[in-house]
């Protein structure tokens, strides 16, 4: 907080925060490259509306530069909308970045007014919101993974059901354990039957050969 001395303090706030007359009266911010007023009007109820466009250097940590190389070269464009209401002695600003938005959006709202307990003080109420579609990406990856897993489990279960249905030959559904036992038994039977058949075929074949030999002699 700093003392609000009516118009002069408002002017000080305006100058330091909003950059009017920034050159000599406020401390230089090295990361702010340009500043332009892109809209300004006085409303019928005597409020001053302004929109400022700022460009700032894009200072990313190294790890972010590696992950998002396309963003490194571009400065950050920021809009600052403000309403100055001298009659009610308030000023409201809303600031947000309009590029690099897919990476992250930071929004800030400041309300400057006279402190209710001490009219010699300026009060600032600041709110900020940080959002990123990257949260959306990680959420999407998570949802995809889960959906894919569920789908795979469903396929697996369907596969089991298919095999079980075949083994059971359309009889009413049984438990896995029972079915497994049955499957084992059936497999044994099949194996035995196959062996018998093989023996049978072999002996038949042997018989045929003998006949043929006799013929040629």
């Amino acid at each position: 907080m700093w003392p609000w001395k009516e118009q002069s303090s408002s002017l000080a706030v305006w100058r330091s925060k909003c950059g009017a007359g920034r050159d000599s009266t406020s401390s230089p911010s090295k990361h702010v490259l340009t500043e332009d007023i892109v809209h300004r009007e006085v409303t019928p109820d005597q409020k001053l509306l302004s929109r400022r466009l700022l460009t700032k250097t894009n200072r990313m940590p190294r790890w972010a530069e590696r992950l998002f190389p396309a963003n490194v070269a571009h400065s950050v464009y920021i809009l600052e909308d403000s309403i100055v209401d001298p009659q009610n002695q308030t000023m409201t600003t809303f600031t947000w970045n309009i590029n690099h938005a897919r990476l992250m959006v930071v929004e800030e709202r400041c309300v400057y007014c006279v402190n209710s307990d001490n009219s010699g003080w300026t009060e600032i109420r600041r709110e900020a919101w940080v959002s990123s579609s990257l949260f959306g990406v990680s959420r999407a990856v998570q949802e995809f993974g889960l959906a894919r897993f569920k789908s795979n489990v469903t396929k697996t279960m369907k596969g089991f059901e298919y095999i079980l249905a075949k083994l059971q030959g359309e009889s009413p559904s049984k438990t896995l354990v029972e079915t497994a036992k049955e499957a084992k038994e059936k497999a044994k039977e099949t194996a035995l039957a196959a062996t018998e058949k093989a023996k049978d075929l072999a002996s038949k074949a042997a018989g045929k050969q003998q006949q043929q030999r006799q013929h040629f002699v």
């Binding site: 118009q7 340009t34 959002s131």
Partner: protein, 75 residues
């Protein structure tokens, strides 16, 4: 502070000086009428518009971010 359009910086400074004077001496003292800087502002705007539109997407954005009153954080 420079303008985003290098050619516009002088026009911007001229407008800023006019505006600062009007703001401190008139507007804050309750006299919001008769803005003497409109011509300067028009000239400065025309200069900046041409450059802005090429690169920076500032069209169609609601003033004050459509009155944000977010109660809690959201993604």
């Amino acid at each position: 502070m420079n303008s985003v359009g290098e050619a516009c910086t002088d026009m911007k400074r001229e407008y800023d000086q006019c505006f600062n004077r009007w703001f401190a001496e008139k507007f804050l003292k309750g006299d919001g009428s008769g803005d003497p800087c409109t011509d300067l502002f028009k000239r400065y705007q025309q200069c900046v518009q041409a450059i802005k539109e090429k690169e920076i997407p500032i069209e169609g954005l609601e003033f004050m971010g459509h009155g944000k009153e977010k109660p809690e954080s959201s993604s």
